[in-house]
Amino acid sequence: MPHRLLKFGLRRHYPEPRMFRAPAELKPEYDVIIIGGGGHGLAAAYYLAKEQGITNVAVLEKGYLGGGGTGRNTAIIRSNYLTPEGARFYQASVELFQDLSRELDFNMFYSERGHFTLAHSPASLRIQRWRAAVNQHLGIDSEVVGPEFIKHAVPEIDLTCGGHQAPVCGALYHPPGAIARHDAVAWGYARGADRRGVEIHQKTAVNDIEIRDGAVAGVHTDRGYIKTRKVLSAVAGWTTHITDMVGLRTPLVIHPLQALVTEPLKPWLDNIVVSASLHLYVSQSSRGELVAGASLDPYELISMRSSLDFAEGLSAHMLDLFPCLGDVTVMRQWAGLCDMTPDFSPIMGTTPIRGFYIDAGWGTWGFKATPISGQTMAATVADNQDHELIQAFNLSRFGRFQLVGEKGAASVGH
C-alpha cells in the first residue's frame, strides 16, 4: 500500500482540506471570465494562472463542475487523427495527459490500453492507413494491423460479426490510446486553479454578455454584473446559447450523443475497440463496467434525453462483435451534447469580437483535448493572438473555405 494512504488510517481527523473554495461573492471585475466549469474551462483557468500569470480569473459554471460533456463522455484519449493539424494538436494533448496525474497530484487513472479502430471494408481500411501514415509522419504510434493481430489482442471478438455485417478485415492500432477518470480531470484542474487564486463559482449562470464598440465589456450573471474585458466561452454543447448573446454566427449545430454502461464485470477487455461501420465504441472501466457509445443522434437537439433506439442499436452491434455478451446487463444509459462543425475540427481562438474567445466545436472529441485546449486557449487569451497549435481552427476558416477535414475519416469518432 502506498505510504500516502497511511495518514488516513493514522489520523484522528480526516486530513483533507477542501479541494476548491466556494467564494461567497463575485468580485466586481475580473481580468478574465471563463464561462463553463467543465474540463476545458477549468484547464484554461489553471494554465492562465500557472503559465500566463493571470490569476484574477473567475470560472462561472451554471451547474456543477464537470457536469456537461466532461462527465458524460466515454473518457477515451488518443491522437491518431487524420489531419496533420488535428493529430499534432491531440498528440500535444496526450503528452500533457500522460503527466497530468503528477502535475496536478491527482490520480486521473490515465491508463494506456491500446485503441483499435476496426475496418470492415477495404475502403475503411485505406482510411485507417491514411491515418496511420499521417500519424507516423508526426511520430505518433499508430499502425494498420490485420485480423489475426486483433483476434490475438481481443480473443472474445467475432471478426465475422456473426454474418450480420461485413467482416473485420483489419484495424488501425494505436497503442497509446488511453482511458481516464473523466470527472477527476475536471476536479484536478479545479483544485490546481483554485490553489493559484482562480475563483470557481458554481451555480452561477451567465445571462448576457455586454459588448461595447465591438469589444467585451462585462458579463451579466444571475448573481449580478461583472466587468471584464476578456471572456472565454468553453461550454461545448451550450455554445450556441453564448454565441447568440454576442451575436456571433458559427456553423455549430448541437446533437446529443448517447452512451451506456453495463454492470461491473471482472476484467476481460484490455483494449478500446471502435467500429465505425457498427457505430460502436467500447472499453472496460477500472470499475469493471463496459462503457459503450454509438454515433450521434441523427438530428439537432439541445436536450440530454435518452432514447430506446440507441440502447437497442448499440446492443445489437455489441453482440455482432461480442456474441458472448448477450446475458450481460445494461445498467444505465445517458446522453451529452455535442457541438458539431462541418469538418469535425474544433473552433478555437480569437473572434471578430475583441476580448471574446471561443473554445467550441468539440463534437465528440472534447474530453481528449482538455489539457491542450486549456493550455492553448490560456495562451490565446493572454496574448490576444491564436496559439500556433490552434491557428488552423479559427472560426474564420469557414469564410475562407479553408476547412480542416477531420471528417474524412470519421463517421464515428472516439
Binding site: 480526516y14 483533507e16 466556494a22 491527482f106 476484467p267
Partner: protein
Amino acid sequence: MNKRLPPCAGEWIDRNRTIEFRFEGVTYQGYAGDVLSSALWANGVRMLGRSFKYHRPRGIYSLAGHDANVMVENGAETNLRGDRLLITPGMDVRAVNTVGGLRRDRLRVTEWFSRYLPVGFYYKAFHTPRRMFPFYERQMRKAAGLGRINPSATSPHTPKDYAFCDLLVVGGGPSGLSAAISAAEQGVQVLLVDENPQLGGSFLWQHARNPDARRELDDLLSRAGELENLSVRLNTQAGGYYSDQWIALFDGQRMTKLRARATLIASGSIEQPAVFENNDLPGVMLASAAQRLLHLYAVKPAESVVVLTANDDGYRAAVDLHAAGVKVHIVDPRDTGEPSGLAQAASAAGISIQTGTVVQKAIPVKGKSGICAAQIVRTGEARATSSQVECDGIIVSTGWAPNAALLYQAGVKFRYAEQVEQLVPREIPSAIFAAGRVNGVYELSDRIADGRRAGLAAAACLGKYGGEIPSAPIHQGVVPSHAYPVFSSAGNKAFVDFDEDLQLVDIVNAHQEGYDNIELLKRYSTAGMGPSQGKLANMNAVRILAKLNGKSIDETGTTTSRPFYQPVRMALLAGRRFHPLRRTPMHAWHVTANAEMIHAGAWMRPEYYHEEQKSRSALILAEAVHVRNAVGLIDVGTLGKIYVHGPDAAAFLERIYTGRFSNQRVGRLRYGLACDETGVIVEDGVVARVAADQFYVTATSSGVAAFYRELQRWAILFGMDVQLVNATGHLTAMNLAGPQSREVLEQLTDLDLAHESFPYLGVREAEVAGVPAVLMRVGFVGELGYEIHVPASYGLHVWTAIMKAGQAAKIRPFGLEAQRLLRLEKGHFIVGHDTDALTNPFEADAAWAIGRGKSYFVGSRSLEIVRRRPLTRRLAGVVFSEDQRTELPQECHLVIHKGDIAGRITSIAPETTLGHPIGMAFLHPDLCEPGQEITVRIDGGKAVQCRVASMPFYDPEHTRQG
C-alpha cells in the same frame, strides 16, 4: 428447510414441488416458486453474498431486487439477482466476486485496510511514481468488477414485440389496480403491468394478515377480471420511459415496445435503510423484506428480532413476526405523541416497545456472517449509555422513497413534502399520472382512492370521462418516513450505499473536501453508481448532504434517474438484429460462378471470379485483360438509376450538375458531376437524354439514396416542373465491354449497333433478349462498351442470354476489382475513393466538367470563391517501373517532399494491362508536372520513387472506346 413456516394463504411457493439446487457447491432444497434468496434463507443460510469493496458478508436486505447483495453466476450467466432468480431443478450457482468461495473469500482482508482507503482514495495515491501505476491499476481492476463473462457464450436472437394501449398502468398494487379498474370502467383500453408473478403488490405481504384488506383485494381482482378492456402482464417490468409515451417492457424473455396514449405510474415506494453501524450484515433487513419472507415464501426471517421502526409499517411487521413465532422487541426513535392503533396492537400482543431509542450498532457474530445483538441507545445520548438486546435479526422500517424512476424519465418534477417526509410529484407533464405511495399517499384506503382519482383523470385526459375527478387524498396519519434515519455519529461501517460499500464517514469526508452538491458528491463518492443504481442509497445521501449543508431537501436537490429501472440483458435489447443486405438479380449466378462476393455498402458484389490454382491478383488481371482483348460482362445493378421528367428537366439538371444539359441532344449521354453547396464533389454519373423532357441519370451505388433525396429537395426549392423517380431497385444494369461486345450484343437485339447509328455516348431504347432495355454507349473502362439497363425481374434472363451469346467470343464475367483497374488505366477518378470530404472539381482536375458560361448550379458560387484561391493539391497520375512491383506504396500512403506531407496516393494498381504499376495521387500543384519525380513513404518508413504521368495511362487518344 428448517426455517420454513407452516403453509399460509397466498404464499407463492408450491409445496408439492420440491426443487434441488446447488449454491456454493452445497445442495439445498426449496419449493417451486422460491427465489434463490428465499430458498437459501429457508435452509438457514445467512451469508448469501459478499460486498463489492470490503467483501463483507451480506444476506437478504430488500428481497425485492432493490439491493444487489445477492448476485450469483452459473458459469454461463453472471450477475444474476438472487432476490428475483427462481430456483430450478439442478441449478448450480455461486456468489460473484469472491476468491476461494463465499465463506473463505480471501479478499475479505480488504476490510482490514479500510481505514487507509478513504473516500476517493484512488485519486490520492498510486500515481507516483508514474511507472508504478500500471501495477496498482492491474490489482485494482482485478479486485473491481463483479461477475465473470463466459467467453464461449452465444447470443440467441430474441424477438421483440410491439404493443399499443390507451393507458399503461405500472404497478398492480392497491393504487394501480384501483386506477386500472377506474379507467377501464370508463372504456379506456388499459394495460396493467407488474413485475411480480401475482397482482396485489403490498396487499400480498404488507397487509397479508388483514382480512379486510384481503377482501378488498379479492374484490378488486374480480372487478379487474370482468373488464375485457383491461389486460394484465405479470412478471413484466417497465424498464424505461422514453418521450412520447414510448415505454420498454421486459418480461425476462423479450422486450415489448409499447406505445401508450397515457401512462399512470403506481409503482409504490422503496423501503429505505437506516444508517447505523453494521447495518449491512446478514440478519439486518427491511421490514418489507421480512414480510415478503413471511407471507410470500413462508420463511421465518429470524428467531428473535429487534424491530427498528419510526412508522406504522414497522409495527405492522412486528405484529406479523410475533404471530409467526418470532421474539420481537421494538425500538422506536420517536418519543412524542399518542401511540397509533398499530402500536397499541403491538403492545397488546405483548411485544416490548422502547420509544425514544435507536439501534446504533448491530453486533456481529464471529466472521460477521450474522448478528447476535443490537446495541441500542436513547436518541441523542452518548454511546456509553447504550445497552444490548440479543437478537439474530434487526428489522428496519424507518421510511420510504418513491419508486419514481419512470416519473423522473417522463419529466415529472418533485418537491419534498414534510407531512410524509418524502419527495412527491410537483409538476407532472400532460398524459402522465401518478398514484399511491409514489404520489405520497400511504394509507391503504387512501391509496385505493388515489388510484381511482388518477384512473379517472387518465380517462378524462383520453376523452373517455367527463365527470368529476375526486381530489387527491391528503395524508392524515402517522408520518411514514423518518426525516433523518441516521443513527450513527461516528459513521464507520455505517453504510449509506451497500453496493459501493460507502459509509456515512465517506459522505462526511467527501463533503469536507468540497464535494458539497449532490451531483459532485455522487460522482466523487460513487453513491448510487452501483448495480442497484441508488435505489436504497440516494435518498439517505440527499438527507445527509442536506444536513451537512444546513439546507432543505428541496434546496439540496436530487439526482436524475435514467433508464433502466433494473439492468436489462443486452440480448433483449438487441433483438433479432435486423441488418438489411441488398443483392442484385444476378447474385445467385455470381455465386454459382464462384465469385468472391464482397460487401459494398449495403450491397453484395462480385469482387472477382475464382478459378482453381490461380491467385486473386492473377485473376483480376486476367479479367481486365480479357476486357481489353475480347469481351467481358460486369454486374452494375447496384448503380443508382434516376428518371427526371418534365418540361424543366434540362434546366433542372443544369442546376444540379456542373455541366451543360440544355443543349444536349436526345439520344445522347453526358458526364454529370455534382457538388454540394460548398463546392465539394459529392456525386457523378451519366446523364442520358432519352426524350426532350426526359432524362435518365445514373449515380454511385452508395450515394444514390442521398443524391435522390437532394434532387427532390432542390426540385421543391427551385420550384421547377420536374418529376423524379428513383428506379435503382426496379431496374438493374450490366456493362458489356470489350472490342467484341458489339458482336455479342447484336445477337440479342434488332437495334442497329453500327457506330454511325449508335455512336459513342449515344443512348437508345430497344429490346435485348426480348426485354425492353435502355442501352448506353459508355466507355469508362476504355473499350467499346454497352451499359444495358433492364427491369430487375429480367436481369438474370438478360445476363444469362448475354453470357450465352458471348460463348463464341469466350466472354467472361469480371468483377469490381477488374473494373476499378480498367477505370484507373483510363484516369477516371472514383468519387469518395480518389476524392475525399473536401475535394472540389479544381483539385480533382475536373474543371473541364464545369459548363462554360453557366450562371448557377449547386456549388457554383462557392467554387467562384474557391477558384480565386491558390490551389493546394491536385489529382495526378503516377507511374512506377515494373521492377518496383514488390515494393509499391499502398493507397493512402503519403507523398513526402522536403520532409513535409506533399500529397497522398489515392489509387494504386500493381498489376495492369500496361505492364507496369500505376496510381493516382493528390499532389501539391508544384509537383504535378508529368515527369516529376516524387517520393512516397511506404510501410516501415521506406521511401519509394515514382514519376508523375499524364492521364489517361491507357489509350490517351480514346481511340478504342469510340
